[in-house]
Symmetry: C2
Subunit: 340 residues, 2 copies
């Protein structure tokens, strides 16, 4: 078979898979933010009717898959494989809701880059004929993440100025074959980048170099410029990380600020919602892509979008052991029509 | 492109990727067991010269990749993508050693099923022309796993009779294209199976139904019987889980006991090494496949092998919240020559 690699890190799909449907589920804070109208469902309380935050996260993934399946008029039996991951230890946010579904499951861990990693592999599986329909799912939950990564909420700790707010939300995209787009056109696999940032409350700075490396590789591999995209979307660099990313490109003589949007900066209102540097978590880029950007693509507002989800691959233990924070970023390009 | 699916969960590779090289790294206990001679390197102490057990795990993954690369005469630049995962929270065993390597990285979480999941996806990427050479890597460390999942070692807790011993080890396989085998011929993606086992010290029982489901699906999808294999290898069911697996097949009127071997039962000496039900952990199936079975395949002792790595998808938190233990099992078949 003809290889379909482009450059060092990228893939150009032979027959770009279609996004059959996408769905976004959000929590209470997300329902009060500027993207409220783009969610398929928002809960009015943090537990989604469950006993614990972790079970709430399970519920969100279930709701995201159900909503996407409903839109595409598909049953679980129609889905050949589901790729999912989340931030909870041992990814229990993703595996537990699949009990009893009979779905073939590939578990991923890419921290907050998981949505892009899942889409990339789902597109490979569909493009290569290994799956007819593949689902990409991910989620995060503010309260579960705070307890696991930082402090119990009841401790009432002061958040540092560079902190971000983990999004409570889940997103799901279903890829398959149909005439209509949007299509997953290309993908770029990220590398682990670590410039030595050790402050676990400054993820944006830790992830920005990884985002730069992947977007740079993407443009080089496919011989493109930022002008080939209507919008370049990063996952959760937040305000500070976004500025760093633009600055890194400026050193190459490339200005991306006009094309660049960060899901972490879009999802909360900086004035009203006190999220400091913005949103973060797997659910941040997943819900913003599956809700907001998907609707913009469908409405023709954007025709060519580069989605670059960023992840910080630290753990509480690695921080305790004095390690710096490795970052990663995977990218997929989405087009509303097949490019010539 | 022609689809290459078989049945509900399986893939039949169009042009089966070759295993270019494999390497197994082990700890001290592993160097004293019956498979000692099949490791490429064993440490005489538990930390591999590092400061912490977690950094020792990083070191093992690094050594496994280096040893496999050395055998295949490849540099990091020749590897298009590396797929890896491990048991540590946020998979820090896999991501940290990749800093500075420039390798494109896809992180996985499949608990102890990770080696099969990584091989499956690596084979998809090579078969489909998305990567020329792909690496599959995983590891586990007894001391790190005990501290994280159970008790600090210094607590000196009594181990229950159904407990297994997490293998200290790492395995790496490199897939690519060459005339010579062994080849990754088919793969079956697992589903999450949970029959309600809640005892986190009895993983074998929790994983056996998942192994049964995947092997059953594999045989059905490809219209095969156990006789089509010289050996059916499970990851770390241990003594109890292995008996349960054979019993589940007996209910179908199928006897697999003569074909079945479990890495957890092979890696330690039941009489001498006090591992209770046997070995477990990502490193258990990875080292046994990359060391012992790889050499048996190369020597022609086995020609057709079904590798079924099993994982228990629990977390300490899920157990604390009273949840039962979901299991998963992914399978790849390995042939020493191309099947007609």
């Amino acid at each position: 078979m003809e290889p379909c690699r482009a450059g060092k890190r990228s893939i150009r799909f032979r027959d770009p898979p279609s996004i059959l449907a996408a769905a976004a589920i959000g929590g209470k804070k997300e329902s009060e933010g500027p993207l409220a109208g783009y969610f398929d469902y928002c809960s009015t309380e943090t537990k989604f009717g469950q006993e614990t935050w972790e079970k709430a996260e399970n519920k969100m993934q279930e709701l995201a898959l159900d909503a996407a399946r409903y839109k595409a008029n598909l049953r679980n039996e129609n889905i050949d494989v589901l790729l999912a991951g989340d931030l909870l230890d041992q990814c229990i946010g993703s595996s537990f809701p699949l009990r009893g579904t009979g779905l073939s499951f590939l578990g991923l861990y890419g921290a907050c880059s998981t949505m892009a990693e899942a889409l990339l592999l789902a597109a490979v599986l569909v493009d290569g004929g290994y799956a007819r329909i593949a689902a990409a799912v991910t989620s995060s939950h503010f309260a579960g993440a705070e307890r696991q990564y930082r402090f119990p909420l009841v401790y009432g700790g002061q958040r540092t100025p560079t902190a971000q707010w983990t999004v409570t939300g889940a997103g799901c995209m279903l890829l398959g074959r149909q005439e209509q787009g949007p299509f997953i056109e290309t993908a770029t696999i990220g590398q682990v980048v670590d410039l030595g940032i050790k402050d676990a409350a400054n993820m944006g700075a830790a992830m920005a170099p990884a985002a730069y490396a992947t977007i740079r590789a993407h443009l080089d591999d496919l011989q493109r410029t930022p002008d080939d995209y209507d919008v370049i979307v990063t996952g959760d660099l937040g305000k500070l990380g976004s500025e760093l990313l633009c600055e890194l490109f400026r050193r190459d003589g490339v200005e991306i600020a006009e094309k660049h949007k960060d899901c972490g900066c879009l999802i909360y209102d900086a004035e009203r919602q006190d999220a400091h540097m913005g949103g973060s978590g797997c659910g941040c880029s997943a819900t913003t892509l599956c809700g907001y950007f998907m609707k913009k693509l469908q409405a023709g507002k954007y025709r060519n979008l580069l989605f670059c989800a960023t992840g910080a691959l630290l753990s509480p233990l690695s921080t305790q052991q004095g390690e710096s924070i490795p970052g990663i970023c995977h990218a997929v390009s989405i087009t509303s029509e097949r490019r010539q």
